[in-house]
Structure formats: structure tokens, C-alpha cells
């Protein structure tokens, strides 16, 4: 069996979408100066919420909305602790991941045998008929387009809007932004919730489209890879797309190689996305993190 390059590239778009969604959310969170290591936990919560909602309503769209709400809800737990109780962000993020993975397993256990809810493809009229580019770019479901649109919107928000400027100021120097009268806590709270909603959407894309059924530990480290991509992208949305598609590429390619039955053992192929993450982190983590990243903010200090 040969690898069809057009199908492969289209598969890369699909494989990248969960990571891209989670990463664009985390990018906004980190630009506001909060390090949320709970992406994996929020993603898997979104995955289970999306799956349950989609199955009880029969609609994938409602499922995705449920996933975003679920991800945002679980992220408020983190937000309250980190922003109002000034807990250690690294430890709290880890707690969120441990908690989320357990919660998802608990909620999902009666859905293990459930079948698939079809997420309809939405080919874009006209554009999808372009040879080569059409099948690669324009014959996907709405969530794929949404993920790319979100990246563009976040880029516009961060670089072209006043609110985005305030968010970046808070991330660079929370004390100075506070002195200027900007609502540090409110902005950070909203940023964390946005990150949670995005991670939830990404998780639901895994459970409703990529896999698509419920299994324990379904996200398998995608949340952590999303965190790595934010570092790789040096906190810039443009590079984020490249990073996410690179990883999607490795994932899709190794699945394709597995299918061709090449002489490389399956196990060694399936560890390639994780190894690739490490290599990319080593080779390309040159960017500068937002100045206040990870530091708790307390108005009196």
C-alpha cells in the first residue's frame, strides 16, 4: 500500500486540530502571565463532556458546545486557586491534570461501549473543487475551520485590539498594569476560562472525530504536546500553526507508515510524536516568555 500525499496532508489537518485548539487557548493564558499546566486535564474533561453531551442529544454540535463549557468550568477551579488564593501555578496545574484524568474516567465509564456520532463534513462550496488544494484544505468538518479561524482571531486580538494590548501588558508586568488601573485578576480569569474552553473543544475533537469512541486516557498526552507547542511558537500565534501542523504531520505520518506495514515495529512508531516534541523543544525553544509568566500576583506586595 502506498501513501497518498493528498490524503496524508488532509489527515494532517485532522490530526493537528486538537493540539492546535488546546495550544491557541493556552497561548492566550500564558500571554496573560498565567502558566496553566492543566491543559491535559481540561482536554480530557472536554473530551468526556463532549462525548456524553453528543450521545445524549444525538448532535455533535451540541456536544462540542458542551465540551467547551465543561473545559471552561473545570478551568475556573484552577483560576480561583491561582488568581484568588495565589497557589503555586505549577503544582495547581498538575493537580488539575490529575483531577481531570480521574474525573473523565469516572464520568466516561458507562460510555465505553457507545458507538460513534457522525460529525458531518462541511466542504466549502467552490473552494473544495480546486484540484489538490481543495481536498487538502477545504473538505473538512467545521471544527477544523474553526481552529484556524481562532488562531487568526487571537492574532488580531493580541496585536490589533486595545484589550489584547492590556492582556499582554498584564502578562509582561502585572504590577505595572495594576498600577495603571487595569483589572489584572479579571483579565487573567477570563483568559484561563478561554483556555479551558479551547482545550475542551480540542478534547472533544479527539473523542468525537479522531478516535471516535470513549476509551480511558483518550487524550494520551496531547495536552502536554500543546504546552510544548506554545513554547516552540515563542508565544506567537503564527508560529503556533506551523508547530501544530508539524506535530500533526508526525502523528499522521506514523499512522500511515503503520498502515503500509513497513518493517518498523508499531511501538517505535507510536512513540515518535513524543520524541519529536523533545527534539523540537531542544532545537527551537529560543523565544522569550512573557515577563510575569508563572508568578503569582497579589496587589499588596
Amino acid at each position: 500500500m502506498d501513501i497518498n500525499p493528498i490524503l496524508l496532508l488532509a489527515a494532517i489537518m485532522v490530526a493537528s486540530t486538537p493540539i492546535l485548539l488546546a495550544a491557541i487557548g493556552e497561548l492566550v493564558v500564558e500571554r496573560a502571565g498565567v502558566l496553566n499546566l492543566g491543559v491535559e486535564g481540561m482536554m480530557i474533561t472536554g473530551a468526556v463532556c463532549g462525548f456524553i453531551v453528543a450521545h445524549s442529544t444525538g448532535s455533535a454540535t451540541v456536544g462540542f458546545i458542551g465540551a467547551a463549557v465543561g473545559g471552561a468550568l473545570v478551568s475556573t477551579l484552577f483560576a480561583v486557586m491561582v488568581i484568588f488564593l495565589m497557589t503555586n501555578q505549577v503544582a495547581t496545574g498538575l493537580a488539575l491534570t490529575l483531577f481531570g484524568v480521574g474525573l473523565a474516567a469516572l464520568m466516561g465509564q458507562s460510555y465505553v461501549a457507545e458507538g460513534q456520532i457522525i460529525v458531518p463534513k462541511a466542504p466549502i462550496p467552490g473552494l473544495s473543487e480546486i484540484p489538490v488544494l481543495g481536498p487538502i484544505l477545504f473538505r473538512h468538518d467545521l471544527v477544523v475551520y474553526l481552529s484556524v479561524a481562532l488562531v487568526v482571531l487571537v492574532w488580531l486580538f493580541l496585536t490589533r485590539s486595545r484589550a489584547g494590548l492590556i492582556l499582554r501588558a498584564i502578562g509582561e508586568n502585572a504590577e505595572a498594569a495594576h498600577a495603571l488601573g487595569h483589572p489584572v485578576r479579571l483579565v487573567r480569569f477570563l483568559a484561563v476560562m478561554f483556555g479551558g474552553a479551547c482545550a475542551g473543544l480540542g478534547g472533544a475533537y479527539v473523542s468525537l472525530v479522531r478516535v471516535p469512541q470513549w476509551i480511558d486516557n483518550i487524550t494520551a498526552g496531547a495536552g502536554w504536546i500543546a504546552l510544548a507547542i506554545v513554547v516552540f511558537a515563542s508565544w506567537r500565534p503564527g508560529r503556533l500553526i506551523i508547530g501544530a501542523y508539524l506535530f500533526g504531520g508526525v502523528t499522521a505520518l506514523q499512522l500511515n507508515i503503520q498502515a503500509t506495514g513497513l518493517a518498523i515495529p508499531v511501538e517505535y512508531l507510536s512513540m515518535s510524536p513524543y520524541i519529536a516534541t523533545i527534539i523540537v523543544l531542544v532545537a527551537l525553544s529560543a523565544g522569550r516568555a512573557p515577563g510575569s509568566l508563572g508568578k503569582p500576583f497579589h496587589a499588596s506586595s
Partner: protein
């Protein structure tokens, strides 16, 4: 209006009080969770926390408690060095798995030679080295390429999980296992087995090593220059540099300690309670140990107590899942809630709560 006022120094009293309070809060929240799931909350709490130690079948559960606590304590002691210095080794689970693979590899290579005086010590060395090397990867990458040790050590957990699955059906599969996945059972190989030293107590070499590690760590933190350097680097990296602490060396040493101990825990587990290399070998100890380290306040004695408590949740959780049909994942949620409430309550350690009327500006 409630205001938080930063304490000049963390409160000594609350430092010791919050872990206890966190356990109580988690029991209450856990009870609410169990009630939500339609289980009797008090009965569930009693099944998890009381029956394994004092109940009718305590003679069975008590030894299990030590077997589960030993790896948690060993790993958490190692993590506490790095966590104190602000070095975040999150991949202990991976180092634990690789330690088990290396230790078991030595045993399987010597099979069926009967020379315990040689094989068992060699396995211990291999287990330590395996975990240590797996932890050295993120350490060296952090020192030389400034990569984030959290992400790298975590990615290596997934790699280790794939490796142990691959080995259990490939390289290390039992040739007499009739095609089933899994290596030879080391418990049935006297030269390599890590069995109970005194029958029905649960005490194997891992338990003894864990107690030993607690004592050594206590001495290090209280009496030795290195323990002081670790604390200094965590509290004030700049001051530590002026005091002549080399941050790169500290990263490497702390990662090696935590990796080595995690590998050692993996070896004792694979040669003892678990017995074989199998895809289902990873038991989440490496992650639960993070909770143990924090709950124990990164203090060796505290870690000893926290390790026993978390081991209890594992055992009580098992008991509750068989007698009350409580899903196994509920315990994981419970453990997550424990870390949440501990971290939240720490606000009392670092801040004073002031009740004040809102003033007109």
C-alpha cells in the same frame, strides 16, 4: 469585606495544620462526590480509611499498605529534593518504569543462574541507573539547551509506557508463557525475587530502603550543606548563586536523585509485588508521589506519613470498588481533590485573613 494580607513569613502553625485540614476537607468533599454517585458517603469513607487498618480483614490489608506505601515514599523523597530547589521532575512515572525494565532485564539475562549474592545487587544497580539515566535526559537538556524539564520528563513517561508494552510482548516475553504477553515471573526466580522478608508483614527490601531514604533525607536537609543549598536555591536563586551554588550542578544532582530513587522503586516493584514486566505494570505511582511530596510538605517525615495515607486510599479504594462497587477512577478524583484542597488551604499559611469594612476611597 475579606482581605488577604501577606505574612512576612509563612506561618509555622499552619504549615503543619493545613495537610491535616486538607485531608478532612477532602473527606467531606469526597463524601459529597460519593453521595452524588448514589453511594452511602459515610460507609464509603469508612471502607476506604478505617476498615483496611482496623476492620475485620485488616490482617490482609495491613501488609498491602506497606507494599503500596514503599514506592510512593521512595519516589516522593527523591522528588522533594528537586521540588525544594524549584526543579520540576514530573516524569517520575517514566523513570519508575525504566528502572523496572533495566532491573528485570538483568534478572532475565541471568535466568536461571542461582547466585542471589550477585544477581540481586546487580539488579538494584541496574534499576537505579535506569531511572537515573531516564531523568538525566531532561536534566542535561535543561542545562545545555535550556529546555523545560517539565515537558521533557513528561514526554519520556509516554515513551517509557510504549517501551514496556513493546518489551512485554517482544524482547522480554516469557518463552514458556504460551504466547501470553509478559515476562517470566521474577517472584518464582529465587535469585531475583524481592519477597517479604518476614512473612505476612509486607516488609520487603523496598520498604526497608524507603525508611532508610527517609532517614538519610532528613539528615541531609537538617544537617548537610547540600540540603541547605537546595533550600536556598529554591527560595532565592540569586542568593544561592552568590553563595557559590552552581545551578546547573544542582539541576543534575536533583534530577539524578529523584530518577535513581524512582528507578529503584520500579525495580523493587517488578521483582516483588508485581512480579513481571507487563503492559499494565505502570500503576500511576510516579504521579501519586507528586501528591505525596506536597502533602508531606517536602519534609521526609511528612512524606512518610503522606505516603502511608495515599497508600491507604489505593487499598481502601480497591476494597470499596469490590464491596461497594465504587469505580476505581473515583479514587483518582479523590487524590486530585486532596492536592487541590491542600494547595488552596495553603493560602492560610502564606496570608492572613483580615475582615475589614469596605472603606470609601
Amino acid at each position: 469585606m475579606i482581605r488577604l494580607e501577606k505574612r512576612p513569613q509563612p506561618s509555622q502553625l499552619w504549615t503543619y495544620l493545613t495537610p491535616v485540614l486538607a485531608v478532612v476537607v477532602t473527606m467531606v468533599l469526597g463524601g459529597v462526590l460519593f453521595a452524588f454517585m448514589g453511594k452511602a458517603p459515610l460507609e464509603a469513607i469508612r471502607t476506604i480509611f478505617w476498615d483496611p487498618i482496623f476492620g475485620e480483614f485488616a490482617f490482609y490489608y495491613r501488609p498491602e499498605l506497606l507494599k503500596k506505601a514503599a514506592p510512593l515514599i521512595l519516589i516522593a523523597i527523591g522528588l522533594s529534593f528537586g521540588f525544594r530547589a524549584g526543579i520540576w521532575n514530573i516524569g517520575a512515572e517514566g523513570q519508575y518504569i525504566i528502572g523496572a525494565i533495566c532491573g528485570a532485564g538483568v534478572a532475565l539475562a541471568f535466568y536461571p543462574t542461582e547466585a542471589r549474592w550477585l544477581i540481586f545487587p546487580l539488579m538494584i544497580v541496574a534499576g537505579i541507573l535506569g531511572g537515573l539515566i531516564w531523568a538525566l535526559i531532561p536534566a542535561l537538556l535543561k542545562v545545555y539547551f535550556r529546555t523545560n524539564e517539565i515537558l521533557v520528563s513528561l514526554m519520556l513517561v509516554y515513551v517509557a509506557e510504549v517501551l514496556i508494552k513493546a518489551f512485554s510482548v517482544g524482547l522480554m516475553r516469557n518463552p514458556e508463557g504460551m504466547g501470553f504477553p509478559g515476562s517470566r515471573n521474577l517472584r518464582q526466580y529465587p535469585a531475583a525475587a524481592n519477597l517479604e522478608l518476614i512473612a505476612n508483614t509486607g516488609i520487603h527490601w523496598g520498604v526497608i530502603t524507603a525508611v532508610f531514604a527517609v532517614i538519610v533525607a532528613q539528615v541531609f536537609f537538617a544537617r548537610h550543606q547540600f540540603g541547605f543549598n537546595v533550600r536556598l536555591a529554591g527560595q532565592s536563586p540569586r542568593a544561592a548563586t552568590f553563595a557559590g551554588v552552581d545551578p546547573s550542578r544542582l539541576v543534575i544532582i536533583c534530577m539524578c536523585i529523584s530518577g535513581g530513587l524512582a528507578g529503584l522503586a520500579g525495580l523493587y516493584e517488578v521483582a516483588g509485588p508485581s512480579g513481571q514486566i507487563l503492559g499494565s505494570f505502570p500503576a500511576y505511582y510516579g504521579f501519586t508521589a507528586i501528591i505525596v511530596a506536597f502533602l508531606g510538605r517536602l519534609n521526609p517525615i511528612g512524606i512518610l506519613l503522606a505516603g502511608l495515607l495515599l497508600a491507604l486510599t489505593y487499598i481502601g479504594g480497591d476494597a470499596a470498588s469490590s464491596s461497594m462497587n465504587l469505580p476505581a477512577a473515583a479514587i483518582q478524583v479523590f487524590q486530585g481533590m486532596l492536592l487541590f484542597s491542600l494547595l488552596s488551604l495553603d493560602v492560610l499559611t502564606n496570608y492572613r485573613i483580615r475582615l475589614k469594612k469596605a472603606q470609601v476611597a
